[in-house]
Subunit: 368 residues, 2 copies
């Protein structure tokens, strides 16, 4: 590949991405469950549309601003899996709901009241799903309080409660785990049981939405689960490979960097630091124990050990030290976490028919 590309930059092998899209779609199709990928990984409407073409029913996002970008480029069915609580965001969601199928997350009485009041004022009914905390301790009503909150939401005019959802990642008994099958099955079971309890109380719960890239395939096999929302699988990354979800060769994305300095035999500095590689998945933390901030494809025994904003410090193992690696050489590094890494880049380069083509990350940096 002698085509000039600026560095540092994210490059994506489109064939690998397409294979990941097809493979997840096929795995989930076999279970009879619906697939609603989280778009946080790619943040690009054209990829969301590819996922839908491959069989997804729609997509998931976290922010109303992300939903707006996706809708503006033709995505017809979006779930904002996040509690919207401010009047501006709720107004924007209501506007969007007049144009596409939109579902919004809710996890509190106060949040439900705000949504209901705004929807009623606008003379509309908003489709909502109740978020359940199944152990991650972030948003989501406590599992044991879900029935009561579900009943309350069901009593509000302006809201149509059609489902419940959770995000748990790879978690068992409140701790990160590598036993993805057990984790996914437990997650599915917890949610299916809760849905039944809500139905027994007279609530029309159609959707039981669970699952992330590590657990989606397992959670989807649990009777009563109706939808899974994996995100990272579209590109995969080093964290997923370490979890055993995929091989490193299934990672479609890498950061292309240039060696700018080699002060000593064991130290190489590349032109990407913490502005280029996300630092939210840190090295040496349980249970992954990732060595460094990425996997250097050309030099597997090099460790991306330290980052400052514009510098990546590679500590070279014996093999890499013996290499002819020099200033100006190009390396490709699979990042620990591709989703937050893509968010750092205004554009991403896609390899298609032997040539890289730039695509703008239209949904990047959407915080509202």
């Amino acid at each position: 590949m002698s085509q000039f590309l600026p560095t540092p930059s994210v490059v994506i092998d489109t064939a690998v991405m397409e294979s990941n899209i097809a493979s997840m779609a096929e795995t989930i199709r076999k279970t009879g469950v619906r697939l609603r990928p989280h778009a946080k990984t790619h943040k690009m409407p054209w990829i969301a549309l590819r996922q839908i073409e491959a069989g997804a029913v729609g997509i998931t996002v976290a922010k109303v601003s992300e939903a707006e970008v996706m809708a503006a480029h033709g995505v017809p069915d979006i779930f904002i899996a996040y509690p919207l609580v401010t009047p501006d965001k709720i107004a924007r969601a209501l506007e969007l709901a007049s144009r596409i199928r939109l579902i919004v997350g809710v996890d509190s009485r106060e949040g439900a009241l705000r949504l209901a009041e705004a929807a009623t004022s606008a003379g509309r009914t908003l489709e909502v799903r109740l978020e359940i905390d199944t152990g991650l301790r972030r948003t989501g009503v406590l599992y044991e309080e879900a029935l009561e909150l579900g009943r309350f939401i069901g009593s509000l005019s302006g809201l149509q409660l059609t489902g419940i959802y959770t995000f748990r990642g790879a978690l068992m008994n409140g701790k990160a785990t590598l036993d993805l099958q057990a984790a996914g099955e437990e997650e599915g079971r917890l949610m299916a049981e809760l849905a039944q309890r809500l139905r027994d109380a007279g609530l029309a719960i159609d959707d039981v939405s669970v699952g992330s890239t590590p657990t989606a395939a397992y959670a989807a096999t649990v009777p009563g689960v109706t939808e899974v929302r994996p995100g990272t699988y579209v590109f995969q990354d080093r964290m997923q490979a370490r979890l055993g979800v995929c091989a490193l060769t299934d990672c479609a994305g890498a950061v292309r960097v240039t060696v700018v300095s080699r002060p000593t035999a064991d130290l190489v500095v590349v032109d990407g630091g913490s502005k280029t590689f996300a630092t939210d998945v840190q090295p040496n933390t349980d249970p992954l124990q990732l060595r460094g901030f990425g996997h250097v494809i050309e030099l597997p025994d090099a460790v991306l050990e330290r980052l400052s904003e514009e510098h990546g410090m590679l500590r070279l193992g014996p093999e890499a030290q013996a290499s002819t690696l020099a200033v100006g050489d190009v390396l490709h590094i699979i990042p620990n976490h591709i989703c937050s890494t893509v968010n750092l880049h205004n554009q991403v380069y896609f390899l298609r028919n032997g040539k890289y083509e730039a695509e703008t990350v239209l949904g990047r940096g959407k915080l509202e």
Copy 2:
């Protein structure tokens, strides 16, 4: 302040920023040394121009794309304190050098040859400074090899070697330290001595450029130092406050967030996660031992303990638990590292005369 602002967003108190700009300018002016702030913190040309108005000789950046943005908006004197080694970046630097005063970093033979060849081909002379590693182990020629490399660069046509520079941060004997005076003085002394050795070898070293926000004031007092390059001081942040450089009240910037969930008495979730708060300065690491990812101004005993991409999990202490904090409330959090946090935001809101005004972060996400 009842003005509507979207959240999450970075807000800057302009009066505090102006005070920080004036204070550093005055501190450095008294030493007789030149001030060349690093623009990485704000990434906004209008602030660079404010720093120059207040007495700075020019600015520092890390990337040629950053220099282009700054030059396009009127900054006349820029130091790219980074080794430029690829033909595209060198060509862009040469073009820029025809329009403004531009200085470029160099730290290797190979890098020097590439710069010299391109400059000679273009019939130009490029002003360069030699980067020295004074212990941080990132870019920079090893201290003991600097004389030899300096001589080599001095022998090349197309390059004019006018100075040396280093970046060390708060470091002593290769380890992070809180003794900023000793660290800054040692940094200055090492560089002043080296400059003299290079001059003794016949090289015309005018500029001895050192210092960061924690060490600039101390390094500037060392005879032989001619320039300091602090960056963070313009806004300050929690890391600098913890280092003792400033008080928390000197921090001009905070992240404004909204409470989206309060599932239990001790847990609050806000609408900013790792896409909103930089994670490159981690909690509980030496020597700072910062508790969490930021300081919650309204609730000092709350700890921003965990982040996922769009969620910030605040663990509340007894005081915060007793508060009436509820869904929809707004909080302001001083981030651990303001520079990399600003890089996550397309715009930043400046408080001026009691009103917030949005400014685009024109130099954000410039990686090339």
